[in-house]
Amino acid sequence: MEGLNLTRKWFAIAKTEFFVQTSKLRRVRKVASLLLLVFGIIWALFIVPNIMESVLSDLEGTGIDVLLMVSFPSLMRSVMLFLWILLLIYPISYALQEIRIGQWEIMLSNNVSTWDMMFGMFMGKIPIYGLFVLYATPVILTPFTIFFRVSIFGQIIMYFTVFFVALSTLFLSNLITTGIQAKLGESSRGNDIAKALSMVVALALLLPMYGLMFFSDSMSAILGFDIFILFPFTWAADIISWSVIIFNEIGVSATLFIDILKITALGDLVLILCFTIAIIIIAYISADRIFSFGAGPRTEKITTIGEENRFLKGIKRVYTGPPGVLMVNSIKEFTRKMQNVSRLIYGVIIAILLPVIMNYAMGSVPEGAPPEAQPFIVMLVIIMIGMMLAMISGVTFGGIGFLESKDQLWIIKSTPNGVWKFAKARIFGSFILIIPMAIIPSIVAAIIFGFTILDALMIIVYTYWSTCGAVLLCAGVTANNPAYEDQKSSAFILNTMVSLFTLLGILIISLMIGFEVMAINANLLLFMLILSTPMIVIGAIVYVIGIVRMSRPDTK
């Protein structure tokens, strides 16, 4: 034990955390981080200000500059809200994808205090998210600093505020993450719950935000004050706004903004400091409680399988023999994973929310808008529903849900034509599960917009068809470059990126062709077929190529 420096344990943990996060860079991580940092500083001090300067000089006299001037405190609030959401939700849902209690046990058994662990994990995250903030902040702030000619001192305060808020938000998300993780334990069931929960957390935080955006006016009216004032991101945004007002050199005075900035600069500062200190105290007090490994959360429930339900029996009746068995077992295996189901539900819920929100937004289309605006927006909503479902299903069925492990692939491969049989069962199983996913949001949209039954049917077919195409494409990408369930692997990240960009690319090109055809022959059915068919064709080709490659014997 003599060799261990007790006071620096959190540092070792932070280092490990950093290594885990940058594992893609491997050996070059030090050089790469340093380069990124240096470039980030150049970016913040020279590149962004210069670009912004020229953009702003173009805007001069267009009226946008006046708009910017009047509305900048609200603008600042929405920007900070966005940053806040990003820094709060992203680390939570990312970390919860994988439970690492095993690692904790190793650390705890090495006599590390729980506070050290939490603090170390937080510090380890700072480099990555710090870089993100370093790159994002200038883009947010320079328009204001240039426009209002904020003095250097004011700028320093502005930047400092953003960094401070980013840090405290990250700390909060770190606290929430570790809390949830510790309560769930390492059982694979707990793992599933955590993954499902990460989705729910994201949703639970996102939905109120949506609500806030759309109903803030009426809510504020009811409460008698601006509801935004209750949120930490508002305090931070207002501090920045105050710095602009106090340190500007073009003579903007505070009286213009008294209506919006209800709290004084000092008040905002005190609030945000209290908030941060409160989080740290809570973290410190609860550290031991959160990280204690009671028997409770780690007891595992053994799941015993009952009789097959009627739906699965029906499939077996239609597809008799081995193919039916493969398909049914593939469906069972997929749907028993909470993470898959929660992802799909997430997709369906958002797809259902879309028409609701858009319908609300359409109510506020200005009077003078051209009459084509209405049907155009409706069409846009339908296309967006299709895209949304396609992407989420693609990533779920094709990405994570495709194959659990390399060892599983060995087993499948060791049977005659096993990969082909597996591939067929997997894809047709997915196609069956997609049916309700396509139908429910389509029907909701049809009811909200008052479509005819025929139109509704067409929308269902379009949604289904394009979702199937997306699943084929994503599964094909995965088969070409198997990533299994390891969501931190570079293969997985690469696959997801490639899948999403290809999906978007194909959709956009199909959309453009579709509009061309619409101009000649305005047939909605034709339009939707053009929109969804290229995906199916390309997806099928990529999938077949992937399976051919997967079924070949390894060379390494």
């Binding site: 399988i305 069972k332 295996e333 060995w410 060791s414 005659p416």
Partner: protein, 256 residues
């Protein structure tokens, strides 16, 4: 003559970049016999099994398995063999019965026959009480039992077992031993077993090969090998051949 051989390799080699995993393997395994492959970690045992079962391409050399060529007749080989891979890759969200159903279906089996077999194999392995529980809740030994069952489910002519008994308790490993011997005798099934358990190998294997750094340097019956190096038992012989002599001065010096 050659129809009596289930495995026949000629100069089989495999490189992973600069690592030579297998070098010039010449091996013949008689039909209906039990062959054991021993060797230290990283010797190339798993590599050999993967090549022979059609999962991995060799760098050079050639082989026939059950009379089929490993370059051109992989599908036939896979139909005729069963493989128990080194690390169990089970579906965590299927029950044991469902998993075996799945493997059976991959081997084109279904219906009454398949279910009867699954039932009796579960019975034999002593898992009948737990057969409908999800595999995620199984212990590693229980998983291994399920895998053993999945390997023999379609009555393969040749079975590859890569460390099949490493996680089993003594009675389970005795059971696997009995299954192997019964299948070899009654059904003329050939076994190709990679193991680290010398006593297990000594009991069940008729022929043993010792692989070291990709090279097969010893081949013969257990008795034969023991006598060759004048050892007490197979473990002793193995240590003498592979060189497992421990440098005692190093045992505790890592603390310095």
């Amino acid at each position: 003559m050659s129809s009596n051989l289930d495995i026949q390799t000629k100069g089989l080699s495999k490189n992973f970049g600069s690592v030579i995993a297998l070098q010039n393997l010449d091996l013949e395994v008689q039909s209906g016999s039990v062959f054991g492959l021993l060797g230290p970690n990283g010797a190339g045992k798993t590599t050999a099994v993967r090549i022979l079962s059609g999962l991995l391409k060799q760098t050079s050399g050639n082989a026939t398995v059950c009379g089929f060529d490993i370059n051109t007749q992989r599908k036939e080989i896979k139909a005729a063999t069963g493989l128990l891979p080194e690390t169990p890759g089970l579906y965590s969200k299927l029950s044991a019965v469902e998993f075996l159903e799945f493997i059976g279906a991959l081997n084109d089996m279904s219906g009454e026959l398949l279910h009867r077999r699954i039932d009796s194999l579960m019975d034999l392995m002593g898992l009948e009480d737990r057969q409908n529980d999800l595999l995620e809740s199984y212990s590693s030994g229980m998983k291994q039992k399920v895998l053993v069952a999945s390997t023999v489910l379609h009555e393969p002519k040749l079975v590859f077992l890569d460390e099949a008994t490493s996680r089993l308790d003594p009675s389970a490993s005795a059971l696997v031993k009995e299954i192997i011997m019964a299948m070899a005798k009654e059904m003329d099934t050939t076994f190709f077993i990679c193991t680290h358990m010398t006593d297990f190998a000594e009991d069940v294997c008729e022929v043993i090969g010792i692989l070291n750094e990709g090279i097969l340097n010893t081949l013969g019956s257990p008795r034969n090998i023991i006598e060759q190096v004048e050892a007490e038992d197979l473990e002793d012989a193995y240590l003498k051949i592979v060189g497992g002599q421990v440098d005692r001065s190093k045992l505790l010096s890592w603390r310095d």
